[in-house]
């Protein structure tokens, strides 16, 4: 994991990052007291989704792209049907929209709970897994698993299955759940909301390294609600974009150490996606319960310490559970579970807030509704350059730490982003070949 190559150079390397989704490696090279090079390498084998989507029907895009990621399939399905409905000029209406938001809340709960309790919390307390952590913090791990289960139950009822839901289609759902089915979830969701309130307090008490950065936060915003399933893309420096303007402001570059493409703003700057960006840009739209918990946790109006993203994630779990309960109590089954979508030629753009940040899709369709071109930009490839920048800034004042400690903290710094390497490795496409 570490080697002194002479000349005062040492390399800290983790060949297989643990407790992240997918396969990546980390390298930090230090010469003397200077950080010379950092890299988050993504070597997850490429799967070529954008290529084999060509020729498939527009109707298949949600089910096929769901398979990019088993942790956040609803994000893929949502960005896909948003893009297809844009291309086809259809709008399933507010009742289907509310049901989609409800399902997405389930995914936020499930994915965030996995990350907070099983993947990230052990870092702060010096454990190598949730199992070893459970020996001393059993109650909290059990609470986390209960919260996660509530999210999965919600996905099963609305989506038909927790991983790769089957009830989702372009235009709406195959079958809308009955009131009674949703009401049956209320008890479990209320219990989970109670547990999540305690969890925010618990994670707020974890020890956090001093580390604040000047991030360019980027997240969706919706005038009426904390953006999840759609919105406009806003940034701390004043961007305000519709989905079809994304490519004018962001670009991807292919670099040698990664099967994911790096994404940057057109001016070459990095940016930050995910819970901390959403919270810092849209905090006022959280429900009172979630906002008060954030206040008690000391989060303030914005959060710039990525190690505290675990607190923001816990606040978002609480919000998603609270929002799910609100949506269930206001639920009116749509008159029709879906609007019919007739194929036509066109281009559509769509996005949504995956648990780990904004996920963008674009499709060009032929007359018969088959896909002529697909482009997908997942959150982790957008965060990857920012992760590397964090590593560099984080390591520099800590070069005096021994290798083992430094490696531990660097891995933790990567996990701050809840990177989904399976997601990021497959697809991305450059518009221009710069070779």
């Amino acid at each position: 994991m570490s080697a002194d190559q002479g000349g005062g150079t040492r390399t800290i390397r983790t060949d297989y990052l643990a407790r992240v989704e997918g396969e990546g490696a980390m390298t930090v090279k230090i010469r003397g007291d200077e950080v010379e090079q950092v890299g988050l390498e993504i070597y997850e084998p490429p799967r070529f989704f954008e290529a084999f989507l060509k020729g498939r029907s527009f109707r298949e895009a949600p089910d096929i792209t769901a398979r990019i990621c088993g942790i956040c399939p609803v994000a893929y399905m949502t960005s896909a049907f948003n893009a297809m409905e844009d291309a086809l000029g259809i709008d399933p209406g507010p009742r289907v929209g509310a049901l989609r938001r409800l399902m997405y809340c389930g995914e936020w709960v499930e994915s965030h709970a996995l990350h907070v309790f099983l993947l990230h919390a052990p870092d702060f307390l010096g454990f190598d897994s949730a199992w070893t952590m459970a020996r001393e913090h059993r109650e909290m791990v059990e609470a986390g698993l209960k919260i996660k289960k509530a999210g999965n139950d919600l996905l099963r009822v609305v989506g038909g299955r927790a991983i790769h839901p089957v009830n989702v289609r372009v235009g709406g759902f195959y079958r809308a759940p009955g009131r009674d089915q949703l009401d049956a979830l209320v008890g479990r969701l209320e219990e989970a909301r109670e547990l999540a309130t305690g969890a925010v307090e618990w994670v707020a008490g974890l020890p956090f390294p001093e580390f604040e950065q000047d991030y360019e936060f980027v997240a969706l915003r919706d005038p009426d609600r904390y953006a999840i399933e759609d919105g406009r893309l806003v940034s701390g420096s004043g961007l305000d974009l519709a989905p079809d303007q994304f490519e004018q402001h962001f670009e991807e570059r292919h670099v040698e150490h990664s099967t994911a493409l790096h994404s940057l703003m057109r001016d070459g700057g990095t940016y930050f996606l995910g819970p901390m960006a959403r919270y810092s840009l849209n905090r006022e739209q959280l429900s009172p319960v979630a906002r008060e918990a954030a206040d008690r946790a000391g989060l303030g109006p914005e959060c710039r310490n990525p190690f505290r993203s675990i607190v923001v994630r816990a606040v978002e779990i609480l919000y998603a559970l609270d929002e799910a309960l609100r949506l269930i109590s206001a639920y009116e089954p749509p008159e029709s579970a879906a609007v019919e979508a007739e194929p036509r030629a066109g281009t559509g753009h769509g996005w949504s807030e995956a648990p780990r940040g904004m996920l963008w899709h674009r499709y060009r369709l032929e007359d018969d509704g088959s896909i002529a071109e697909a482009r997908i930009v997942p959150p982790t490839s957008q965060n990857q350059p920012r992760i590397e920048q964090d590593l560099r800034a984080f390591v520099q004042p800590r070069v005096g730490l021994d290798d083992e400690r430094l490696q531990w903290e660097c891995e933790q710094a990567i996990r701050n982003y809840d990177p989904c390497i399976s997601c990021s490795a497959h697809f991305l496409k450059l518009t221009v070949d710069r070779s």
Binding site: Y16, L17, A18, R19, E21, E44, P45, P46, R47, F48, F49, E50, A51, F52, K54, E60, D63, I64, R67, I68, C69, G70, P73, L114, L118, L119, D128, S129, A130, W131, T132, A134, V141, E142, L145, K148, K149, N152, G160, I163, H164, V166, N167, R169, Y174, R175, H254, E256, T259, L261, E411, S422, H426, F427, L428, K429, L430, D433, R434, S435
Partner: protein, 260 residues
């Protein structure tokens, strides 16, 4: 396992995949905490950075083989594993990424990446069983967590897993569903697809799309005649068979038979 003996060692490996099948293991929820009482989690990177060297009593393998390095790695995993069980469509069939097997992979690479020279990949995405012998294959995209639980307990207790190989139709009847094909003319792969999901698609008025892969001895040509009779065009019949188990027989041949 006799009293005082070391608990069996479990390893979980990932190849080209979406992580969803491994996640099913973490979806055991309350049973998850108790797992280390029964079995030593010796290698499971998605969940723990603590690793214990092989050999392993049971290896669960997710994902398909798509790169030269992974082809070597799966051989090493096989050497280290007393029992090797594949979990999910990628590991048992090559997965959705096996769609490359029907195209020229060089075209695929240049579609996605600007600098094809950086990408090392094999021409085909193959099932684990095409690379090394496997002891059991658990189908599903993703696998069903109850079936996964059954597979692990069966191997711990040295018996064969009780995983039915009949079709989704059996489960669908048992669920009391009205047949979506007979009643509504909805195309459905249920008759040729292995049970295990709980007939979840027909249960929400949708035709099965085959994510659990072929059942034992399915009659795909007969189903295709039925689909054609419903007015399903060949291009859509090909799409139906050629998705999550595109390269597994008989879905593979049936897809090819309907290609123009």
């Amino acid at each position: 396992m006799s009293a005082g003996a070391a608990p069996p060692k479990l390893a979980v490996w990932k190849f080209a995949s979406c992580d969803g099948c491994q996640l099913s293991l973490l979806d055991f929820e309350q049973e998850l905490i108790a797992l280390p009482d029964q079995i030593e989690v010796a290698y499971f990177l998605e969940a723990t950075k603590g690793t214990i060297e092989g050999p392993y009593d049971l290896s669960l393998v997710e994902g398909s083989i798509t790169t030269p390095a992974d082809r070597e790695r799966i051989r090493e995993v096989r050497r280290q594993s007393a029992r090797l069980v594949t979990i999910g469509a990628c590991a048992t069939s090559g997965g959705i990424q096996a769609l490359r097997n029907f195209a020229d992979v060089d075209d695929f690479i240049s579609t996605v990446y600007a600098e094809p020279g950086y990408i090392s990949t094999l021409e085909d995405s193959t099932a684990i069983s095409a690379n090394v012998p496997v002891d059991f294959e658990l189908q599903g995209c993703p696998v069903d967590r109850h079936q996964l639980f059954e597979v692990i307990s069966a191997f711990l207790n040295r018996r064969r897993p009780a995983i039915p190989s009949y079709s989704v139709c059996v489960e669908c009847k048992r669920a009391g569903n009205v047949c979506v094909t007979v009643a509504h003319g909805t195309p459905c792969l249920g008759p040729v697809t292995q049970a295990g999901c709980g007939a979840i698609c027909p249960s929400c008025d949708r035709g099965c799309y085959g994510c659990f892969g072929p059942a034992e001895a399915p009659n795909a040509p007969s189903l295709s005649r039925q689909l054609s009779g419903l007015g399903v065009e060949d291009v859509d019949i090909v799409r139906l068979y050629r998705t999550f188990h595109a390269d597994r027989e008989p879905f593979r041949s049936e897809g090819i038979a309907h290609e123009r």
